[in-house]
C-alpha cells in the first residue's frame, strides 16, 4: 500500500525554498573583493542539493518498514565508521586538530557525524518504539541512553563539541515525545546543569536545593535518588578539574561565549565581526552580494558556520525574518508529521529529525549573535558542505515517507 509520497507539498516546498535560499547565500558568500576558493563553491552546493533531492525522492518512494529494517545495520555501520575515524580521520582548515573527516587515499569523503545524526534518530526511534509505555525511571533509560551514548562518546573524542550537543538535543527531544515525564527529564539533565552552574557556588547551591525538592516530590527509586544527588555533587565539584582537561580551543570558545571581548582577535573576533555584520545590515540590508563586512573578508567562515551573518548583512531583518519563518514552518510541519504518523517508530523518527534541526538552527543562528557558544554547528540547507546537505535531504526524505504513510490526523497510531 504505497501512497503518493509527494502529497506533503508544504514540507517539500519549504525544504526546497530553504535550500535555494541557502545556495543563493553560498553564492553571495563567494562574492568577495579579493576572490577566494569560496567563489565557485555554490555550484557544487547546487550539485549536492540535486543529489539530496534525488535521495529524498528515493527514500520517499520506499517504505517506513524498509527504513526501520535498515536501521540496525546502518547503526552498526555508523559506529564502525565513527570508531575508524578516531584512527584514520583527518581534520580540515581551521579545525585541523579535529578528526571529523573520513578520507580514503587522501580524498575526503565527508563528515560521517552528519549522517550519524540521522541514523541515531532512527535507532533511538526503534528502541523507544519497542515499549508501550514511556520509561518512568532512570534505570529504564539504559537502552536509549546506550544508543545515543556510544556515538556521542565517539564524537566527543574526535573532538566535535557541536555534533555532540546535537546528540543531546535529539536524546531529550525524543524522550519528551515518547512521553517521559518532565521531572524525569530534568533529573536526567541535572548533573549537566550542575556542571554548568558549578562555576558559581551560589547558583549551584540554589540548583541543588531545587534538585532535592524535585527528588522528594517525584520520588524515584531510592538508589536512583542517591545516584542523582551524588552525580550532581560530583559534577559540581569536579567541574573545575574537568575544565583543566578541556582542550585550549574548547576552553577558549567557552570563555569567549561568556565574554566575547576577551580575545577579540581569536574566537571572539569571529563573533564580534558576525554581530557587526548582522547589525550593520539594518532593516533592509546592504543588498544581495553587497555586504561590506563579507566582501572585505572580516566575516569568518562566511560560507559555513557564519553563513547566517551574510543573510543578516545583505538582506537585513526582512531576510532574517523570512529565513526564520521558513525554518519555523519546516519545524512545525515536522512536528505535525510526528503527531499524525502511522506508528510509533515513524512518529518518534519525525520528532527526532525535528529536534536535530531545531538544535542546529538555534545553536547556529544564536551563535552569530553571540546568544550561543561557538560550537561549529552548521545551519541546515544553508551552510556549505556536501555530506551535510545530503544528510538534511535524507531527513526530508524520511519525513516525506512518514508523512505519506500517516493517516493525516492525530491519533492515527491507535487504529
Amino acid at each position: 500500500m504505497f501512497r503518493n509520497t509527494l502529497t506533503d507539498y508544504p514540507l517539500a516546498a519549504t525544504a526546497i525554498a530553504l535550500s535555494l535560499f541557502g545556495v543563493a547565500i553560498v553564492y553571495s558568500a563567494g562574492q568577495t573583493d579579493i576572490p577566494t576558493y569560496v567563489a565557485p563553491l555554490w555550484k557544487s552546493q547546487l550539485m549536492w542539493l540535486c543529489l539530496g533531492v534525488l535521495c529524498a525522492w528515493g527514500i520517499g518512494n520506499s517504505s517506513v518498514r524498509l527504513i526501520e529494517w535498515v536501521t540496525w545495520p546502518a547503526y552498526l555501520l555508523t559506529l564502525f565508521t565513527l570508531a575508524s575515524l578516531l584512527v584514520l580521520g583527518t581534520g580540515t582548515g581551521a579545525n585541523g586538530h579535529m578528526r571529523s573527516w573520513l578520507a580514503i587515499g587522501g580524498h575526503r569523503l565527508g563528515q560521517p557525524a552528519e549522517l550519524a545524526k540521522i541514523i541515531v534518530v532512527l535507532m533511538l526511534a526503534k528502541v523507544l518504539a519497542e515499549r508501550r509505555e514511556a520509561p518512568k525511571s532512570l534505570l529504564e533509560l539504559w537502552k536509549p541512553g546506550l544508543v545515543v551514548g556510544v556515538p556521542f562518546a565517539m564524537i566527543m573524542l574526535q573532538p566535535d563539541l557541536g555534533s555532540a550537543i546535537v546528540f543531546v538535543g535529539i536524546f531529550f527531544g525524543m524522550l519528551f515525545w515518547s512521553g517521559v515525564p518532565w521531572p524525569l527529564l530534568v533529573l536526567l539533565a541535572s548533573p549537566v546543569v550542575s556542571l554548568v552552574l558549578s562555576f558559581s557556588t551560589g547558583l549551584w547551591g540554589a540548583w541543588f536545593l531545587v534538585l532535592i525538592a524535585l527528588v522528594l516530590w517525584y520520588k524515584p527509586y531510592l538508589l536512583e535518588g542517591i545516584v542523582l544527588v551524588v552525580a550532581n555533587v560530583v559534577t559540581g565539584v569536579v567541574a573545575p578539574i574537568l575544565w583543566e582537561k578541556l582542550a585550549p580551543y574548547q576552553q577558549n570558545r567557552l570563555k569567549v561565549f561568556l565574554d566575547p571581548s576577551a580575545d577579540p582577535r581569536a574566537s571572539g573576533y569571529h563573533v564580534l565581526q558576525s554581530k557587526i555584520a548582522i547589525g550593520s545590515g539594518g532593516l533592509l540590508g546592504n543588498g544581495f552580494t553587497l555586504g561590506t563586512q563579507k566582501r572585505s573578508g572580516f566575516l569568518p567562515e562566511q560560507h559555513t558556520d557564519f553563513i547566517f551573518a551574510v543573510v543578516g548583512e545583505e538582506l537585513g531583518f526582512i531576510g532574517v525574518a523570512l529565513a526564520l519563518a521558513l525554518f519555523l514552518a519546516l519545524l512545525l510541519r515536522a512536528t505535525r508529521i510526528a503527531s499524525r504518523a502511522n506508528d510509533s517508530f515513524g512518529s518518534l523518527a519525525a520528532f527526532g529529525l525535528m529536534s536535530c534541526w531545531l538544535v542546529h538552527v538555534v545553536v547556529n543562528i544564536g551563535m552569530t549573535l553571540n546568544l550561543m557558544p561557538i560550537t561549529g554547528i552548521p545551519l541546515p540547507f544553508f551552510s556549505y558542505g556536501g555530506s551535510f546537505m545530503l544528510a538534511s535531504w535524507l531527513g526530508v526524505g524520511v519525513l516525506l515517507r512518514i508523512s505519506g504513510e500517516g493517516r493525516g490526523h492525530a491519533g492515527a497510531l491507535l487504529s
Binding site: 554581530k275 532593516l283 573578508g297 543578516g312 525535528m354 538552527v361 549573535l369 492525530a410
Partner: protein, 592 residues
C-alpha cells in the same frame, strides 16, 4: 512510547508552542540588533574597514633675511607596516629583510615603535631610496600590510655652511617620548634635533594629517575611503631669519677646512644674527633619515669637536678683548677717564707684591692714557686700573655687563659664560687664605677665572657699538630686545669707539684695515696653558664693529689655538668687508 491521542495532541501542542517561542525569540534578538542597534553596528562596520594612515606635515621652510632658502622639503619615501601583533610584525620584518636589506638596528627600532603605539602603522624606513621602493612595489603582493608613502624629507641646500645654527631633524627618541616636553608626539615622527630646528620645533612641525584607507581583513588596501573623513596635514609656517645667507656662505668659506673656531656677525641695532659659523662643520643632509653610524662615530672621534658649537657652547678665556669691560667699569664708576695716566708707566712689566706681572710687549709702552692703552692693549695699564677698581667692583661690573650670563640667543643648549659671582667665590674655591688680590690683575686683562662664549662677547661689543644697550642675538626675526648694560655719556662712548678704531688704525690690528671703512675692534690673544714643543698655544680673538662711527655690523671671531689675535682680526675684517662690500687693505701684521 505512549500513544494515546490525548497525550500525542498535548505533546504536539507543547512542542509547537515551544518552537514558536524559540524562533520568535531569535527573531526578537535580530530585530534588536538590526533595527534598534543598527546605528552602532553600522559605525563599527565602517571603523572596521578604515585604517588611519598618518600623513606627515611638511616642516616650515626656513628663509634668510632676503628670502633665500636655508631649509626646505624634498619628496622622499617612508616605508611602514600595519601589523596585527608583535609576532606578525617580527615575521614581516624577517620576510622583508630577505627582499631589502634591513639592519638589526632598523628591526629593533621598528619593534620599539610598534610597542609604543601599536595602533599606528609602524615606520620601518623613514627615507627609503627609489631602488628600495621599486623592489618593494614588485613584492607588494607578499606584504599586504606594507605602506609606502611619499613623505616630505628635510633638505638644506647649503649643507655644512648652515649646520652651525640650523641644526637637523631626526626621529623622536624613546627618551623624548617619555618626557612631558614631547607630549603628543608619536614614534617615528621627526623632530628638530639641534639649532633652530630644535628651538622652533613647535612652530616648524605643523600638524600631522590622516587619511582613511578602506582595507580588507588582511590589511590590504581596497580603495581610498571617503575623503570627507580625511584630515589634510597642515604644513609648518615658514620661518624668516635674520641670517644673510650670502655672508654665511662667505664666513664658511673663510674658515675653510683649516681654521678651527667660531664666528658670529650681528646687527648691533637689533641683535639680528647675520651669520653664525662654527668650524669644523658637518653635513646636515647626511643626518636626514637616520645618521650613518660611521659618519656619526667620525664626528664624535674628531678632536676638533665638530658637534660642539664654538659660538654658543665653547667657552674660552677672552684675553684682551675683555679689557673693554674693565675700561667700561672704570669709566662708569668715574674712577678713570679716557685721558688719565696710571701712576706706574709701562716698562714691560709690573711688580705687585712679590710677583712680577709682564706686559705682552717687553719693550714697554711708557706712560699712556686709557685710550692709548686700549689701542696698544697695554697690560700694565689695565693691571693698575683693575687694582683701582678693586676686585669686588670688578666682579660686580662684569656681572652687570652680562658677562656671567647666557647671551639669550635663540639656539638650544647655549652655555653660560663663566665669571666669579662675588669675591666669596675665591674664598669658596681656594679657601680664605688660599688666594691673593693678584687675581684682580689677571681678571682685568681677561685671564683668570673668566671664560666667555663668542656670542656673549659679540653681544657686549654690540652695546659698545651703540649706546650701552646690548641686544639679545636673534636668528629668527622677532621683536628686538635691547637691555641697557652700562651708561656712559656721549663723549665717553665716542672716545671708546675712537680708541677701538685706533686698534686697527695705529694699534694691534693694523693688518685688518679696510679701505674706506673705519673698523673698530679689539684683538685678544688668550693664554690657554696648553703647550706644544714648549710654545704656548693661544686662542686668537677679535671682536669689533664697523663702520666705527655708525656701526651696522658687529663681528666676533675666535680661532681655537689660533695664535695671535691679529689672525682673528684678519678673518673678522674680511667678513666685515664682504658684508659692507669693500676690500680690506693688507698691511704689515702687528702683535696683539
Amino acid at each position: 512510547m505512549s500513544v494515546h491521542p490525548n497525550d500525542i495532541a498535548r505533546r504536539s501542542r507543547v512542542a509547537k508552542a515551544g518552537l514558536a517561542v524559540v524562533i520568535l525569540s531569535l527573531m526578537g534578538a535580530f530585530f534588536n540588533a538590526q533595527v534598534l542597534q543598527h546605528d552602532r553596528y553600522k559605525l563599527q562596520s565602517q571603523e572596521n574597514r578604515l585604517r588611519a594612515l598618518p600623513l606627515a606635515a611638511p616642516r616650515g621652510i626656513i628663509y634668510d633675511r632676503f628670502g633665500n632658502i636655508i631649509a626646505e622639503n624634498l619628496p622622499g619615501y617612508a616605508v611602514s607596516i600595519a601589523p596585527v601583533n608583535t609576532d606578525s610584525l617580527k615575521s614581516s620584518l624577517q620576510h622583508l629583510s630577505s627582499v631589502i636589506s634591513l639592519s638589526p638596528d632598523q628591526i629593533d627600532a621598528a619593534l620599539r615603535r610598534y610597542r609604543r603605539d601599536p595602533n599606528r602603522p609602524t615606520l620601518i624606513m623613514s627615507d627609503a631610496s627609489m631602488s628600495v621602493v621599486s623592489v618593494l612595489e614588485e613584492h607588494r603582493i607578499n606584504f599586504p600590510r606594507l605602506i609606502i608613502q611619499s613623505v616630505p624629507k628635510r633638505f638644506y641646500p647649503d649643507g655644512p655652511a648652515v649646520a652651525s645654527f640650523v641644526g637637523y631633524t631626526g626621529e623622536v627618541t624613546d627618551a623624548d617620548l617619555n618626557s612631558p616636553a614631547y607630549e603628543g608626539y608619536k614614534p617615528g615622527q621627526l623632530v628638530g634635533k639641534g639649532g633652530i630646528e630644535k628651538e622652533y620645533e613647535k612652530v616648524l612641525r605643523g600638524r600631522e594629517g590622516v587619511r582613511y584607507d578602506e582595507v580588507d581583513a588582511r590589511g590590504r588596501q581596497v580603495r581610498q575611503a571617503t575623503p570627507r573623513l580625511d584630515l589634510n596635514p597642515e604644513p609648518g609656517p615658514p620661518l624668516h631669519t635674520n641670517i644673510d645667507l650670502d655672508l654665511q656662505r662667505y664666513v664658511a668659506a673663510v674658515f675653510g677646512d683649516s681654521l678651527v673656531g667660531g664666528a658670529i656677525a650681528l646687527d648691533p641695532r637689533d641683535g639680528g644674527v647675520l651669520a653664525l659659523y662654527s668650524a669644523p662643520s658637518y653635513d646636515v643632509n647626511k643626518f636626514t633619515g637616520g645618521i650613518p653610524a660611521d659618519y656619526w662615530k667620525g664626528l664624535l672621534a674628531d678632536d676638533r669637536r665638530p658637534l660642539v658649537n664654538k659660538v654658543t657652547q665653547g667657552r674660552y678665556p677672552p684675553g684682551s678683548t675683555f679689557k673693554l669691560a674693565t675700561a667700561v667699569t672704570g669709566l662708569e664708576d668715574g674712577l678713570v677717564t679716557l685721558d688719565e695716566h696710571m701712576p706706574v708707566p709701562c716698562t714691560g712689566g709690573f711688580q705687585y707684591g712679590n710677583r712680577y706681572f709682564k706686559c705682552w710687549d717687553k719693550k714697554g709702552h711708557g706712560s699712556i692714557s686709557l685710550a692709548r692703552a686700549i689701542e696698544v692693549s697695554c697690560d700694565v695699564y689695565f693691571y693698575q686700573l683693575g687694582l683701582k677698581i678693586g676686585l669686588s667692583r670688578m666682579i660686580a661690573g662684569g656681572i652687570s655687563l652680562g658677562l656671567r650670563d647666557k647671551s639669550g640667543i635663540d639656539l638650544p643648549d647655549e652655555k653660560r659664560a663663566l665669571w666669579p659671582y662675588a669675591v666669596d667665590y675665591y674664598n669658596k674655591t681656594y679657601g680664605a687664605r688660599g688666594w691673593s688680590n693678584a687675581v684682580t690683575l689677571n681678571l682685568s686683562i681677561g685671564q683668570g677665572e673668566n671664560s666667555q662664549t663668542v656670542v656673549n662677547m659679540a653681544k657686549f661689543y654690540a652695546a659698545l657699538a651703540t649706546d650701552g644697550k646690548a641686544p639679545t642675538p636673534e636668528i629668527v626675526k622677532r621683536a628686538p630686545v635691547r637691555t641697557q648694560i652700562f651708561k656712559l655719556d656721549q663723549q665717553q662712548m665716542d672716545g671708546l669707539r675712537t680708541a677701538l678704531a685706533g686698534v686697527i688704525g695705529q694699534g694691534t690690528a693694523q693688518s685688518a684695515r679696510i679701505q674706506g671703512i673705519m673698523l673698530a675692534g679689539k684683538t685678544g690673544t688668550a693664554q690657554t696653558g696648553k703647550r706644544v714643543n714648549g710654545v704656548e698655544l693661544n686662542h686668537a680673538w677679535f671682536v669689533g664693529f664697523a663702520p666705527a662711527d655708525k656701526p651696522t655690523i658687529v663681528v666676533a671671531v675666535m680661532l681655537e689655538y689660533g695664535g695671535h689675535g691679529g689672525r682673528a682680526a684678519h678673518v673678522a675684517s674680511s667678513i666685515i668687508a664682504h658684508y659692507l662690500k669693500v676690500a680690506p687693505v693688507t698691511a704689515v701684521q702687528s702683535e696683539g
